[in-house]
């Protein structure tokens, strides 16, 4: 039962990964679909997706062409999670295409909050980008500031795509939490909603505002500004900072209904942009399928570091083995802004430390 609840949220990742069991093939898949935007428009595909709740399936059918971007957002989120956590004991690795991260996100831990924030940010970014490049024509145009003008684009232009991207992320990603009326998991639903929102806030709060002067003779009498997204890496880094400073909360009955409140009331109250979690994380030292831990046996560690990637902490005090290894890598490359032109292969011997 518990496993089901968890997997539902990641239903979409499953769609990503189920399409092909090889992780490497995802990128290719995104590519293939991009080349044939029209053929992807098969709403029947939505029903085949494992894990989507009914409401999400409805959204999927109505916005089938946006789904490609949602998929991409999910892919971005997994990649970014693995990059950000590459040096931690839990390194965001996926078990397989269906179970994805396994049971680790079943509990309301910090890790779960991080993945939720990252995924809603990923969807927002991917949809925004798709709107900007004109890949999807579903994106909204309304100028919410003055209400919908009958003359629309001609009268006052369109709102920026970021508004649509975040709104879509909210509709789609939050859909399954909104469904949960089940009291038992209400706390978790609130936590997920909060963290989803925090992810989108990380995108919105780190927008670059750029301006251009274009008054008479190019003077600054008239200045127009717009918002541009930061790189997803930057957003991921911000969410990682929030992960480090996440707040522990618990569900409590208040006059205005059930709410998440601080476990330690002396701490600073969390804002909308902060991450919250319900239970403390396990130490991830030993493999334990119940909590989704792979253990750190055989993990590469840094001999000199005192931080979490250092061999002392990473190996949970079990010690490490050192091996000499010869690796081949690209070297002496000539690079032209997008692509490598010529490269040589160099062999290098390195020392690698792995946990016992």
């Amino acid at each position: 039962m518990l496993r089901k609840t968890l997997l539902v949220f990641f239903g979409f990742y499953m769609m990503t990964l189920q399409s092909s069991t090889r992780v490497e093939a995802i990128r290719w898949l995104a590519m293939a679909n991009m080349n044939s935007v029209i053929t992807v428009q098969q709403p029947s595909l939505c029903d085949e997706l494992v894990g989507l709740v009914k409401r999400q399936k409805t959204i999927c059918k109505r916005n089938i062409e946006v789904m490609e971007s949602v998929k991409l957002g999910a892919k971005l989120a997994i990649d970014e999670c693995q990059y950000q956590f590459r040096n931690r004991r839990w390194n965001c690795s996926t078990i397989d295409a269906v179970r994805l991260f396994g049971n680790v996100l079943k509990l309301g831990t910090r890790e779960a909050s991080f993945v939720h924030a990252l995924s809603s940010a990923g969807v927002a970014i991917a949809v925004t980008r798709a709107c900007s490049s004109g890949e999807i024509d579903k994106c909204g145009c309304d100028r919410t500031v003055r209400g919908r003008s009958p003359e629309g684009f001609e009268w006052s232009g369109c709102s920026d795509n970021i508004a649509y991207g975040t709104a879509f992320s909210k509709t789609f990603v939050d859909a399954r939490e909104r469904r949960r009326k089940n009291k038992k998991k209400y706390g978790r639903a609130l936590m997920n909603l909060h963290n989803n929102e925090a992810g989108r806030r990380a995108v919105e709060d780190h927008m670059k505002v750029e301006c251009k002067c274009h008054g008479v003779s190019g003077s600054c009498e008239l200045k127009t500004c717009w918002r541009a997204m930061s790189s997803y890496r930057e957003v991921g880094e911000r969410i990682k900072e929030k992960f480090d400073g996440a707040t522990e909360v618990k569900l409590q009955n208040t006059k205005s209904g059930q709410k998440l409140v601080l476990v330690n009331p002396r701490l600073k109250l969390h804002t909308d942009a902060d991450l919250v979690y319900l239970v403390a994380s396990p130490d991830f030292c030993e493999p334990d399928d119940k909590i989704g831990s792979f253990g750190t046996y055989g993990r590469v560690c840094n001999k000199t570091s005192k931080a979490i990637d250092g061999c002392d902490l990473m190996c949970c005090g079990r010690g490490y083995e050192t091996r000499r290894k010869t690796v081949a890598e690209r070297c002496m490359c000539k690079f032209h802004w997008c692509c490598y032109v010529i490269c040589k292969t160099c062999e290098k011997t390195i020392e690698e430390h792995t946990c016992k």
């Binding site: 590519m31 080349n35 127009t224 790189s231 930057e234």
Partner: protein, 562 residues
């Protein structure tokens, strides 16, 4: 005693006129704030990465980002495994931008109401320690703009402009973290003075060559975004409606004003002529010739608009100078344009500098939309030189003006102390002069202050960009434009009304003793001798019509109280 309408207007009438003009001004402000949308809007387009044929690179082909059959062969990102597999090179990549976006299920189209189109590029350059952006890296762009009508064949794009451009890259990095984007200055790409077609297509290549460093040091480019800034259709409509209403109003007033002047027995004075020219300059500015762009392709409209605005401000500045000069009260006969050559040359020189700059920037853009004087070092220095020269001219102008105003005020206080000894006619003449001057000073200062205040408000509100929906709010930037534009119209309107020669005076003088010496015209300064002569002459107290409740009397009594 002849004078201007202002002197012979009762307080009541003056207040009514003032309130009317104030309401007019408020209306303009509210039209901009409540009806008009923001003056301009952006279309933010991320470039689609199309792939050209490996061997002949398809230099004459249009790469279209979307469409059933005409869509180009494209990749989503340079991390795509196709890049390595097919050994795609940088020269094969064509960034394609279709203006505008598809939205809400259909392809939008551009409207002629958009008036101008300004395209700037922003770059997403990823930080990679192995391939950093080098110092003073230059970006070479092979850019083409095409257009097509909504009903044309989807493949039938026609060339509008084509150019090989070079832009200086200015990128910085706050935190050197791999995967972060550099903070690069935006690059101007093109400017079109007319939005005549439904769709625009921009194709950009960043060519590379094996043995040259063209586009070599630009780092790892992930994406190219084209930010297209256009005037909002709604703003153009409101703006044009304003002009269409104002133009006949000012024109009618101008005709009335000129008829009054021609009815005078004497030739028009310099100040009257200047005021008339000011009215003409304003009418030229008001002339709603932008209507033509609805039917005709007029790419020079942007340039013409700037020039019209320049002419108006030049005449306004000259008017202030001449007005101050004609009220100096230092017994020097001026009334001729040549007397002001020193002062006016500052205005003329400044305007000439800006005009040359304008022709260099927007004039050349007529033939090459990609041109900008700022992109080359020589051009930028030259442009800066002209702007600095114009600034120097502006400074010297203001010094001249302030000096003249200072002299006027000095003379006013001197004359004021001498007033009680003067004959009534001379007294009245000087009082009128002083009053006229002070009134214009106050009016001008109020207008200038309001312009500055509006500008600050619009800039401040710009700084606090709110990107969500927060109910009804004022569109400050639009309100600034319509408000300031309306204000200078109201200003000139007021001047034409109040500083027109008064009819009443003529009848009054005819009623009295016809003393020509006493009939002091708007700017006519009697010679010392005649002034003395008039002092000795007996003076009719009824020069002012008692029933008029003259404003001048009110003014005089106020002076006495002071």
């Amino acid at each position: 005693m002849a004078g201007v309408v202002l002197e012979n207007l009762s307080w009541k009438k003056l207040i009514i006129l003032g309130v009317f003009l104030l309401l007019l001004l408020l209306t303009f402000f509210l039209i901009g704030g409540l009806i008009a949308p923001a003056p301009s809007n952006v279309i933010y387009i991320t470039g689609t990465k199309c792939i050209a044929n490996r061997t002949h690179l398809d230099h004459d082909k249009w790469f279209i980002p979307r469409g059933h059959n005409e869509m180009c062969d494209q990749i989503w990102s340079f991390d795509d495994e196709r890049v390595e597999k097919e050994i795609i090179t940088a020269s094969q990549i064509v960034f394609s931008f279709w203006i505008p976006h598809p939205k809400e299920g259909g392809q939008l189209k551009m409207y002629r109401w958009f008036q101008t189109l300004l395209g700037v590029l922003t770059l997403d350059i990823k930080y990679d320690p192995k391939n950093p952006v080098t110092d003073k890296a230059k970006l070479q762009l092979d850019a083409r703009i095409g257009y097509r009508g909504a009903d044309d064949d989807p493949k039938d794009w026609k060339l509008l402009a084509q150019s090989l451009e070079e832009r200086q890259l200015d990128c910085a990095m706050d935190e050197a973290i791999e995967g972060y984007h550099y903070k690069c200055d935006i690059l101007q790409l093109f400017e079109l003075g007319s939005v005549h077609y439904d769709y625009y297509l921009v194709n950009i290549r960043l060519p590379t060559f094996d043995n040259s460093d063209v586009n070599a040091g630009i780092g790892v480019l992930e994406d190219l975004h084209l930010v297209v800034i256009h005037q909002n259709g709604g703003f153009t409509k409101v703006w044009l409606s304003m002009k269409t209403v104002l133009f006949p109003m000012i024109l009618a007033l101008l005709i009335w004003y000129w008829r009054r002047i021609t009815q005078l027995e004497r030739p028009p004075s310099l100040l009257e002529k200047t005021l008339f020219v000011l009215g003409i300059a304003l009418s030229l500015l008001n002339l709603p010739m932008e209507w033509l762009t609805c039917w005709l392709y007029l790419p020079f409209m942007l340039l013409v608009g700037d020039i019209r605005q320049g002419i108006f401000y030049a005449v306004l500045l000259s008017f202030w100078l001449i007005f101050a000069g004609e009220h100096l009260m230092d017994q020097v006969e001026r009334n001729k344009l040549v007397m002001y050559w020193k002062h006016l040359s500052a205005v003329g020189f400044g305007c000439l500098c800006l005009f040359i700059f304008e022709i260099c920037e927007r004039g050349i853009q007529l033939t090459d939309p990609f041109f900008s004087v700022w992109v080359t070092d020589v051009g930028a220095n030259l442009a800066l030189t002209f702007i600095v020269l114009a600034g120097v001219a502006a400074c010297s102008y203001f010094l001249f003006l302030c000096y003249m105003i200072f002299k006027v005020f000095r003379n006013i206080s001197a004359k004021k102390s001498a007033l009680p000894q003067m004959s009534k006619a001379r007294k009245k003449y000087y009082m009128g002069l002083i009053y006229r001057f002070r009134f214009l000073m106050a009016l001008t200062l109020v207008c200038a202050a309001l312009t500055v205040i509006f500008f600050i408000i619009s800039q401040v509100s710009e700084g606090q960009w709110k990107w969500g929906d927060d109910g009804i709010h004022l569109e400050y930037t639009s309100a600034f434009f319509t408000g300031v534009y309306g204000m200078w119209n109201v200003y000139v309107f007021g001047l034409l009304c109040l500083y027109a020669p008064s009819h009443k005076v003529i009848t009054v003088t005819e009623d009295t003793d016809q003393s020509q010496e006493e009939t002091v015209q708007l700017t006519h300064i009697p010679s010392e001798a005649s002034a003395l002569a008039s002092d000795s002459q007996p003076m009719e107290t009824s020069a002012l019509h008692p029933s008029e409740g003259s404003i001048l009397q009110g003014f005089m009594s106020k002076q006495a109280a002071d």
